[in-house]
């Protein structure tokens, strides 16, 4: 088995992980390696094609892919080593981790390990929505990848579940895929995005925001035919062929749990001190792994602060 030593190993090549790696190099840390399990580094912005990225860090108004690309370029320029298609599979101990990639299995030893594994949206099962299991059910993540990265056929009429920031991003992706959003549902009293976004998109795409409403059944055999919804005691059926479950984020905390580290019981994030460190270890956590969900540029800005502490602790 291949064995490698680095000063800092960053697990996860999204905005937080890349921003931290760049900062570490700037602070004179010699070897910084980022491992990313996808084919390309850049994280979720890579498949989020609408503008709105980069205000807090690049002071620019960028699309997701352009923003991701800027971070990858900056990391390479700074001398960060990025390994894609590389998955951290298990801890050997608190400073060693096993990694699988097409090149084989490698054990990486690091003086500090930064976890930047991000968050995912809870899928339909995790929300325990009853009904059948027809085709046509997505999260924003799988919808965006199907639409922008693979150009697959989606459907014609969609119901978007959730009214968070990302939910409006799903509406824009649906539009791009030629799918009409017929309704956006939330069990909350109101949407959780920026008022202006909700207002503008609601008018632009002409969908109805239905509040205080839960999805109680997915309808359809081979293909989604609709959703049964409930508001108070009143039930209704909305016909659609596509359902997108948006938001309701959970950190990708598998490595944290497999390492036996403490998890916050509500957010399911690793318990870290003020400097982002899991106490008693040289392991840090940044980005949306910690208390999701924040904007990409906010994750990057916060990650830099943690990276500075890591650099200080190493020297």
């Amino acid at each position: 088995m291949k064995r490698t030593d680095v000063d800092v190993l960053v697990i996860g090549g999204g905005p937080a992980g890349l921003a931290a790696a760049i900062e570490l190099k700037k602070r004179g840390v010699k070897s910084v390696r980022v491992i990313e399990r996808e084919r390309f580094a850049g994280g979720v912005p890579r498949h989020s094609f609408h503008p709105g990225y980069g205000l807090r860090d690049f002071k620019q108004f960028l699309s997701g892919p352009r923003y991701a690309e800027k971070y990858v370029d900056a990391a390479i320029t700074a001398g960060v080593q990025i390994s894609t298609l590389s998955t951290a599979t298990e801890w050997v101990n608190d400073s060693q981790i096993r990694v699988t990639s097409p090149a084989g299995i490698e054990t990486i030893t690091a003086r500090a390990i930064i976890l930047a594994t991000g968050a995912r949206e809870r899928a339909r099962a995790a929300r325990a929505v009853p009904g059948k299991r027809p085709a046509g059910i997505y999260t924003t993540g799988s919808l965006q990848q199907s639409t922008y990265l693979e150009d697959l056929e989606i459907g014609t009429r969609a119901v978007v579940v959730g009214a968070e920031h990302v939910s409006f991003s799903a509406v824009m992706t649906l539009k791009h895929a030629g799918v009409k959003t017929v309704a956006m549902l939330t069990d909350k009293n109101k949407h959780e995005s920026v008022g202006l976004i909700r207002f503008a998109l609601g008018i632009w795409y002409r969908f109805k925001l239905i509040t205080k409403t839960e999805v109680v059944e997915v309808l359809g055999d081979k293909r989604v035919t609709g959703v049964r919804i409930r508001r108070g005691a009143v039930e209704n059926v909305i016909a659609c062929d596509t359902i997108v479950f948006t938001g309701n984020w959970i950190p990708d905390n598998e490595l944290v749990r497999r390492g036996g580290f403490a998890i916050d019981s509500i957010y399911k994030s690793p318990v870290v001190n003020a400097t982002g460190q899991i106490s008693g270890t040289s392991i840090y956590a940044i980005g949306n792994l910690v208390l999701p969900i924040k904007a990409a540029d906010q994750c990057a800005v916060d990650a830099k602060i943690v990276a500075r502490k890591v650099a200080v602790n190493l020297n």
Binding site: L85, A126, E150, V218
Partner: protein, 454 residues
């Protein structure tokens, strides 16, 4: 369809139909294995509770008791031979009331009557020593060390693969709609006529309807829905045995069991339905499971749910398997319930005996082609952990489904196999890809692309 007359046509390519096809494929027979669905194992077989049963709690003397006991050994050995994941966990039938506790000796005696002698009654303290995360109130348990867990899907694909490689025609997307009896039977199907001297009905939920086509009415199949919740792999350390309830008149009740894939499963519910296609989960069913789970292993409910399934068991008004030889060289294999997975290979042997008794000449015996299945069990080495496999082919080092750590190499192997998947569900059953906690947040689009390209 061809003008060929098959020796045997098997209607239904679930675990029973494929096992029969494999058993007959050892002989010099021409065989058609027909299914209405686009994949093997896509009916009632696909939502099994995945337990390798000893048969300790069967009705003593029943056909089911005999075939489960025999099938246990056959499937256990077959699993070792072709590489199907099995874990030797053992079961605890936990008594939560004095009445249930008083029933344990009776269950132990019944196990002996079924030929199973290794069960022991253990104290509450022993129960908690074995299962510290169990809810409060356990009074004791019957420990059945021989009850194991198994991958419920790979046996079906393995049986079908061996049968196909030995010459069986696997005819999918083809529903049987009628029959013309004569010298031989001509099955009318949605894909044209299929002629066969002998016909075996292994149509699961639809076995009564196929009987109807042959003018027979021995039983009625009622679809009994069983809803299952599958919890995140990170919960696997909570439970280390199959936790069974003490049976009551209400059926076997709800169990909590680890799966060979590394999850914990909670279920099933039991609800008789009029509609044989209603395989959806229900609000009431999920609420019921949460209540049960809360009592059996409360910490489980703090874990994320990875999947919710609803399976339909083919229950009949009879308590035993309904395996009958009829005139016109026709055999019904119906009323097979969740024990059908364990019993499958013994059912196949039994059906072969019935065919011979009915005058079928088996001809020369040949060795079945060897198959080696991808072992999907968490307790076994998967390709992503296998340096040699990755060195041989780098695609085994490219993890495509992160939650289940399924690699591109495994997905391509499945797509290139003798019985390839045609749906994302079928691909998942063969590789685990897409069946994990994110349910495709990351890999859905890539898997779909690979499948559609095929």
């Amino acid at each position: 369809m061809s003008n060929k007359t098959y020796d045997v046509a098997i209607i239904g390519a679930g675990v029973v139909g494929t096992a029969i096809a494999r058993e007959l494929a050892r002989h010099d027979l021409s065989i058609a294995l027909i299914d209405a669905n686009a994949d093997v194992g896509d009916g009632t077989s696909k939502a099994n509770t995945a337990i390798l049963h000893t048969g300790f709690d069967m009705v003593p003397g029943s056909l089911e008791s005999r075939l489960v006991a025999r099938g246990y050994h056959l499937l256990r050995d077959y699993a070792r031979e072709v590489g199907i994941a099995v874990e030797e966990l053992g079961a605890l039938l936990v008594a939560w009331s004095d009445e249930e506790l008083a029933n344990l000796p009776k269950l132990q005696a019944k196990a002996v009557e079924n030929g199973y002698k290794d069960s022991v009654i253990i104290s509450a303290a022993d129960v908690y020593a074995r299962e510290p995360h169990l809810g409060v109130g356990a009074l004791g348990a019957l420990h059945v060390p021989g009850e194991w867990i198994i991958d419920p899907w790979t046996p079906i694909v393995a049986f079908a693969t061996q049968a196909k490689l030995a010459g069986t025609d696997v005819i999918l997307n083809t529903a049987v709609t009628g029959v013309t009896k004569g010298d031989h039977n001509v099955l009318h199907t949605t894909g044209g006529d299929i002629a066969a001297r002998y016909v075996i009905n292994a149509a699961g939920l639809y076995s009564d309807e196929i009987d109807g086509v042959f003018g027979i009415k021995d039983f009625t199949v009622v679809a009994r829905r069983g809803e299952l919740m599958v919890f995140d792999k990170l919960s696997r350390t909570l439970i280390s045995h199959i936790i069974l309830p003490v049976p009551s008149s209400m059926g076997k009740g709800v169990l909590v069991s680890p799966t060979v894939f590394g999850n914990i499963m909670l279920g099933p519910t039991a609800q008789n339905l009029d509609d044989k296609t209603d395989s959806g989960s229900s609000e009431d069913g999920l609420k019921f499971l949460r209540e049960k789970g809360q009592k059996i292993a409360p910490e489980l409910l703090d874990e994320e749910i990875t999947a919710i399934y609803a399976g339909l068991r083919a229950s009949t008004e009879h308590s035993d398997f309904q395996i009958h030889s009829h005139p016109d060289n026709y055999i019904t294999v119906g009323g097979i319930r969740s024990t059908g997975l364990t019993a499958s290979m013994a059912i196949a042997e039994h059906v072969k005996e019935l065919l011979v008794a009915g005058g079928l000449s088996l001809g020369a015996t040949k060795a079945l082609p060897h198959v080696s299945m991808p072992n999907l069990g968490e307790a076994f080495t998967r390709p992503y952990q296998d340096e040699k496999a990755i060195a041989g082919q780098s695609a085994y080092g490219e993890i495509i489904c992160h939650c289940e750590r399924a690699t591109r190499g495994e997905v391509l192997d499945a797509l290139d196999s003798a019985i390839p998947p045609t749906t994302l569900g079928g691909l998942g059953r063969r590789t685990r890809a897409g069946l994990g906690r994110c349910q495709g947040f990351y890999c859905h689009s890539e898997l779909r692309k690979l499948l559609e390209k095929k």
